[in-house]
Assembly symmetry: C2
Homo-oligomer: 696 residues x 2
């Protein structure tokens, strides 16, 4: 897929001017000088030769139909050319020209027309408003970038062209290479989802990097990423995550930035590794593209200096990796072959006067040990250090044992040729030890993701039809918010437990219902117009006899009329008083890009103060809900501390899954809260005490 763009047999450049100052000339030159082997056709209204190539006045005038047409002409001329391409049967486009959606107004309309044309003729298009694309596998540089990237096994997509330029420039200096390098621009047609599909199982790319500002099709993105990450790690940096960043992003590309929680959930549910900084993005890119995937989390460290060894050990513990415990054989071997002053326990300290032979002893012992999954080699340059020989040892042993290794040769001035040697031989080197550790830790995270079973989804037997009818009647009555009784009906239709509850429309009826349910009861005003019932004194708990029930009815109704004049009042709800339990909250908001985002956490004041909620996007799998619940900080309280009985965790999970099914079935639910969900002890279930539902 998309080969027509990345590996075209022939291409034309519309706007390929003979004037070296023009962008079209620069793009053509990049194609020519970087060794593209297919036919290249410059298109120019008047020139007959450009860069020694015969030029043509139009696509129609060409001797063959090119696979790819690159467009670098003013925006007002783009549509007719695309129309011509479509008619002639061209299938691939790269539109570098700017002046479309990003300028708003007319540009937006122009882009809509452009996309319609592309779709009409079944073409695929990169851009508009992009730097172009570079493919080192087919030696194709269709861009106005100032240089060609080195060849490598990293595929990169970026929504920012300037970020492409910066990365290109920086990566050359670092010796980091790419297989594909794509500036997405306005991504009118080909977007991150299309590229993920195109790069799935790409034999030339061991890792995919994405610089994202906003995502157009959230669910499509998750589905594509979930598939791709089964074979290939995807590392993303998402900018525009803070309020101010989002404002900056909007002024920049006009793409919706999406809520931070939704992106976190999307990345976690699709196995995407998130880099927090550009440095981290490339730290990870290096280890994933250079080294085999890690199979466990036990790390050995070999060092010629104590201090860096301690730094690295600290970092291992903090990052959730484990310091490997060596087998007795390994220890015996190390004891026999290293000087007595060496430390043979992990970290292996081979002492400052170590040469490559001692690095061989330490590293080979570590890599051969079945208790070791990866090794980090630290080196501070000392008088006796033989850097090149040490590199050779590391390169040889890493290939022999097939376990990932990373190095931290600490220094710069006297390391020069050794750093290049490591880079060329695909040993990721980090200036300081902490980043080597962090990168291995992300590898473990990805490796764990790959080993997860395929997601399974529970489907509950629910009364969908009843909810559909209810929603219709709510809409017909011109409301978007459900009243309490309606919300209860939805909860009931989706199989969640509710306290017994009936509506009373007079004090006497309230007393009668309460007697039937059994004292004590809770009484609440019932009105579609009063959202926060407690705030106006519209809720009373522990009503203990018939006389109080009558008084309470009157009081609550009086308050409702007084504090919410004009509110429709349906009566007073008389409810079973549920015995106490842990109070949880299950909430839903609808993210504009990713759809329903389901939150779970402890209810009550702790939600506000601790903000201890975990989010997942619906539909939620069985494994995901389990992880979701376990990721809240107060989870130990559910398991029970100090001899308390554990809470019915299965009942909480089931509630979340039923809510997930509900909001997936009904996209018109834009907001929903179950608060509190009273959770009893293990095996005793959970009861929804109150619920709010708001429709679109």
């Amino acid at each position: 897929m998309l080969e027509i763009i990345f590996s075209p047999r022939s291409l034309a450049v519309v706007g390929a001017s003979p004037d070296p100052e023009r962008l079209g000339h620069v793009v053509l030159k990049n194609i020519v000088v970087n060794g593209y082997a297919g036919h290249i056709y410059p298109i120019h209204p008047t020139a007959t030769v450009v860069l020694d190539l015969p030029a043509y006045p139009s696509i129609t005038a060409l001797p063959e139909i090119p696979d790819l047409v690159v467009i670098v002409i003013p925006p007002q001329h783009v549509l007719p050319v695309v129309e011509e391409c479509g008619k002639k049967g061209v299938k691939g486009l790269v539109v570098i020209t700017a002046g479309f959606k990003e300028v708003g107004g007319e540009g937006k309309e122009l882009e809509r027309l452009l996309l319609a044309k592309v779709r009409e003729y079944g073409m695929r298009m990169i851009g508009p408003n992009c730097l172009g694309i570079i493919d080192t596998v087919s030696d194709l540089n269709v861009s106005f970038a100032g240089m060609m990237p080195l060849s490598g096994e990293i595929a990169l997509m970026s929504q920012s062209g300037a970020m492409c330029t910066a990365i290109l420039d920086w990566s050359r200096a670092q010796g980091i290479g790419f297989s594909r390098f794509v500036s997405l621009g306005n991504k009118a047609d080909v977007d991150e989802v299309a590229l993920l599909h195109a790069w799935n199982r790409d034999p030339h790319s061991k890792v995919i990097l994405a610089y994202l500002e906003g995502i157009t099709d959230g669910p499509g993105f998750i589905a594509a990423a979930r598939e791709v990450t089964q074979q290939t790690p995807v590392i993303a940096i998402k900018s525009g995550t803070t309020a101010a960043g989002t404002r900056a992003a909007s002024s920049h590309t006009g793409s919706l930035a999406g809520s931070e929680a939704a992106y976190e959930a999307a990345f976690s549910q699709s196995g995407i590794l998130r880099a927090r900084t550009m440095n981290e993005l490339f730290d990870l890119a290096m280890i994933f593209s250079y080294q085999p995937l890690i199979q466990g989390n036990r790390v050995a460290i070999v060092t010629n200096a104590g201090g860096p060894g301690i730094l690295a050990t600290d970092a291992v513990e903090r990052s959730g990796l484990k310091m490997a415990s060596f087998t007795p054989e390994t220890l015996t071997f190390l004891r026999a072959n290293l000087p007595v002053t060496a430390n043979i326990f992990n970290p292996i300290d081979i002492i400052g006067d170590a040469r490559s032979d001692r690095y061989r002893i330490g590293l080979e012992a570590a890599l051969a040990d079945p208790n070791v999954d990866a090794a980090i080699i630290l080196l501070t340059p000392q008088a006796r250090s033989d850097l090149i020989e040490t590199c050779l040892v590391i390169i040889e042993l890493s290939r022999t044992y097939g376990k990932p290794v990373a190095t931290s040769f600490m220094g710069g001035y006297s390391l020069g040729p050794s750093l290049e040697m490591l880079s060329v031989n695909k040993i990721p080197n980090y200036t300081f030890p902490e980043r080597a550790v962090q990168s291995l830790s992300s590898m473990v995270q990805y490796s764990t993701w790959r080993q997860r079973p395929a997601p399974t989804y529970r489907s509950f037997d629910v009364d969908k039809e009843r909810v559909r009818k209810l929603f219709s009647s709510v809409r017909e009555s011109g409301r978007v918010e459900l009243g309490e009784i309606e919300a209860r009906e939805v909860i009931d239709a989706y199989g969640m437990r509710l306290p017994q509850s009936r509506l009373a429309s007079s004090p006497d009826e309230a007393a009668k219902i309460a007697a039937e349910i059994g004292f004590p009861v809770v009484m609440k005003i019932s009105s579609p117009d009063i959202l926060h019932k407690s705030d106006i004194g519209g809720v009373k708990v522990g009503v203990s006899d018939a006389s109080s029930a009558r008084d309470t009815y009157e009081l609550i109704e009086y308050r409702a009329r007084k504090y919410s004049p004009g509110a429709r009042i349906w009566g007073v709800l008389v409810q079973e008083m549920v015995r106490t339990g842990r109070e949880m909250l299950v909430g839903v908001t609808r993210d504009p890009q990713f759809g329903p985002l389901v939150a779970v956490g402890m209810g009550g004041i702790y939600v506000e103060v601790l903000k201890d909620l975990a989010f997942r996007l619906a539909p939620i799998s069985e494994l995901e809900v389990s992880e979701q619940l376990r990721s809240i900080r107060t989870y130990p309280l559910l398991r029970g501390v100090r001899g308390e009985q554990p809470a019915d965790i299965a009942a909480i999970e089931e509630t979340v899954l039923r809510v997930s099914q509900l909001v997936t079935d009904f996209p018109e639910i834009v907001e929903m809260d179950i608060n509190p969900l009273v959770v009893h002890n293990q095996g005793e279930g959970a009861i929804v005490l109150d619920a709010r539902i708001i429709l679109k």
Copy 2:
């Protein structure tokens, strides 16, 4: 102070061999070739000339008494030389020789003798077991390092010699320079405290960096750092903070690594900035040594590309800085002078084709704006970029306006000379924007620290004598743990409130006391041998009448005898039942390096689950206790949420300060817990319900 070591007028090198392979030769050569201007005397038993300098057989044979003597001979010969130095009146020593404390056993004893000698003659000594010292101000390189650092305004001390080597090597490549560069080695005499004092108000050092593994004198370190950080920022990286890291540290230097919480508290209470990684250490070192101190937290960003602008904006928000809001004048100026496609709001986007003139417009407008405290300049190299001219603009404007600036020129390959130009002109440049932001954020943190008023300590009128006597009697009885009644006495003597409470020694007496206190009461077994009274059913709350009081006495006593046979039982404590309130915990542990560490946090199950405790080292100042309490996550619960009354925060603070005074007065208290401290509403005080105290 320590000028004798860092700026000696003359020096001798004991062990200065003519053999270029010997360490003594390397050290002498470093002194000679790096331009030291004072007299240099090689000392060697047989050679008469070393490196063209006349050599002498001993210190005694020298024509003058050198300020500094450097010792590079085998450990067994060190003591006699030091004795000779002392007798001749030498005052400064650098002992490079290894084989002392770090090898254990005899080495440890040798170091003890060495230090005794040094003290006896009033000398000061760096080492033993170190790389040496380098001082670029006096062109002094007394070390076996492979190179001289660049000159700069960063003073560095490191407990790891290898880290020194690595930093030296790396800093040369980065263009980062130092004023003083010290390998502390075993720091038998001169340690981090002595160096902090020595470098206080050093006109050549704008920032002090410390690589720490362990600290010998915690309180001394805090006192010194507190003083120094009033003038000079101190940035520390502390390794050996995790359990595994600590083990690695012990095998490395034998220094105690100290608890993580104690270090955090020590750094926070003395204004030290903590770097988490080596990268961060130098990120901060650059901005502090290159730029003026920031005066507020409002940042302007000038960029020629949208993507990096968003990244930087996100980072600003996350780091607690603020994006500056420009004045109307600034906006008018920018609107009038930048192209219409530019973004004139912060971040100022001057668009990809910007040259230095547009950087001047954007940056000058930002720096001149009174709402801006610092500026970050982002540049991705584009076709029209004029890097050198842009550097000149930045250098000029940063000097004119005196506000700190940082740059992120993103790239590498085509940036070469511009990066060097920035570095030479003291503009800190960061590969990617996030690190520039993080560095400014640390500057704000330090600037805030400098503006703090001097700490004030409350001294409460307490009955110290009563506690002293009580502790004596506890020790005389051969115990270390106080019984409950004893602990109550201590709490009372230090002016903290307790519930009414009396000891009953029979069921009838219990009933009588309970009636006098007023029902309901709490009853607890009283025994010096039973620590966790609840666990054995030794506590009963809500005892509501005389008959229950009698029953409870019998039951509790029975359980205590059954579950803790052999425990001494003093009777049953009958206590006033305190009305409920927020339950807090105030605890103390004694850190081996830093002394008493006082914790405060919510009590009950939340301590265990959320680990929401804040720590400070005693003695705690009024401002510190206030910050301590505000730094716990559950602090909003104390202020009151959802219309609750606020808790008596002043009473909690006072309790912490009284505990701080107690544990400062009595260093023999190694552990103490007030749990729970029941805190009532504002103005209503707090009551200690239970306390444990353990003595050394």
